[in-house]
Every structure is written in structure tokens, then in C-alpha cells.
């Protein structure tokens, strides 16, 4: 069968990326919850010392990258599902991507200048 399968562009790669980034964020969430129970958020000083730890900076970097990648796939799916105008869709895809890249840079410089 030589049918050309073209669709909205949902792919296995995006599906997998959504799962992997989701698992990374879920694991980080549990680490942060455990840290909070351990007193890492009990005071401003404790919180800043915790976030300045090398391992936590590494993990929070992975969290930020995962979050932005995950949000890109999810928000793009929303635009693809509900917008019929290709021009508007393209515009919002670009805006979403630019916003997320900017957020990632902003958040990473916050945790890495500690």
C-alpha cells in the first residue's frame, strides 16, 4: 500500500519525550518533597544552601530542561488540536517556543548563579 500517511505531526519521538521528561520531573518532585520534609525549606538560608548544592543544581537544571521540553510538546498539541488556521498556528507555535527557550534561560541563570 503506497498511502502517504500525513497527519498533525504527532510522532513517536514526541510521545517518548513527553514520557521521559515527565518521569524526570516526577522524580525531581519527590526529591524536593523529601527535602522539604527534611527541613530544606524551613528558612531562607536553608533553602538557598540546599539549592546551591552541586547535585541539586545538576538535577534542577535537568528539571528545567525537561519542563520546557514537556511544555513545548503539550502546548503545541493544544494549538494543533483546536486551531484551524495554519497561519495562527504557526504564529503561536513560534511564540510558545520562544517563550519556553527564554524561560529556560531565565530559570537556569537563577539556579546557576548561586
Amino acid at each position: 500500500m503506497n498511502r502517504l500517511v500525513v497527519g498533525a505531526g504527532y510522532g513517536l519521538k514526541d510521545w517518548l519525550a513527553q514520557r521521559v521528561t515527565g518521569v524526570v520531573m516526577a522524580a525531581f518532585t519527590l526529591i524536593m518533597f523529601a527535602a522539604a520534609l527534611g527541613g530544606a525549606m524551613s528558612s531562607r538560608e536553608a533553602w538557598q544552601a540546599f539549592m546551591a548544592n552541586g547535585l541539586i543544581r545538576f538535577l534542577s537544571f535537568l528539571f528545567i530542561v525537561s519542563l520546557c521540553w514537556h511544555a513545548w510538546v503539550g502546548v503545541r498539541d493544544i494549538w494543533m488540536d483546536y486551531l484551524n488556521s495554519a497561519a495562527l498556528r504557526l504564529f503561536l507555535h513560534v511564540m510558545t517556543l520562544l517563550a519556553l527557550v527564554g524561560y529556560a534561560g531565565w530559570a537556569i541563570q537563577i539556579i546557576w548563579r548561586l
Partner: protein
């Protein structure tokens, strides 16, 4: 019904559609994700202020998080995060063929909604300074 011509385009009457429970939990997954995305600048800003060491950032953080409207938004975001988190775990389990059957899928959707609301109450009371 080969004789009948289907009406195209088909317009869905959204207010008449009765979603099954799993469908309801699913659309909440999308809504919570969209809400978290839209509020990302606020969350990153609060992270920045919480990690800032100047007197200005300390005072601004206290002023912003003390505002009742911000508290309300944060309460909504706590729910959004928890629902998205719990629903995400449900989706991962279904991916590995756990809870695919209709009855299990229905009860897991209910579990997601109950657990995320209960956790929202616990974290929300902390946000509001109840303990």
C-alpha cells in the same frame, strides 16, 4: 445508513457532551497543563526572589506571596500541578498496560481526582498558613 447524507461540517454541542469520568480527568490534565504553562513566568519570578539575597528581594517575595489574589492563583497552581502529576503517573501506568480495562481505568481516574484534591487541601492549608 447508506441513504442518509451526513451533515458536514459536524458541529459538536460541547455543553451537551457528557464525558465519561476518565475523559473528564483527561481534559483536566490538559487544562492544568495549560494553566501551569501560562503561569510559568510568575513561578520563575518567585523562584528568583526566593533565592535572591538582597533586602529588596526578601521584601518583594513577602509582599507578593502575602497578596490574597496571588495566594488564590498559587492554590490553583498547586491543584494543577498535583492533578497533572497524578494523572501523569496514571498515563505512564496505562502505557505499560496497567489498568487498561474499563473498570480499572474508571476507578484510577477517580483516584487521581480524589488524591489530587486531598493533597491540594494539605498543601493549600500550608500555603494559607494553617500550620
Amino acid at each position: 445508513m447508506p441513504e442518509m447524507t451526513k451533515q458536514r461540517p459536524k458541529h459538536l454541542a460541547l455543553h451537551e457532551i457528557r464525558l465519561p469520568l476518565a475523559g473528564f480527568a483527561s481534559i483536566l490534565h490538559r487544562i492544568s497543563g495549560a494553566g501551569l504553562f501560562l503561569m510559568l513566568p510568575l513561578l520563575i519570578w518567585l523562584l528568583q526572589l526566593s533565592l535572591g539575597s538582597t533586602q529588596g528581594s526578601v521584601e518583594l517575595f513577602a509582599a507578593i506571596t502575602g497578596n490574597w489574589l496571588v495566594k488564590l492563583i498559587l492554590l490553583g497552581l498547586i491543584w494543577a500541578f498535583l492533578h497533572h502529576f497524578c494523572m501523569g503517573i496514571r498515563i505512564l501506568l496505562i502505557d505499560i498496560h496497567v489498568g487498561v480495562e474499563r473498570e480499572q481505568a474508571r476507578s484510577s481516574a477517580m483516584t487521581v481526582m480524589v488524591v489530587s484534591l486531598a493533597l491540594t487541601a494539605i498543601f493549600g492549608l500550608k500555603l494559607l498558613g494553617a500550620y
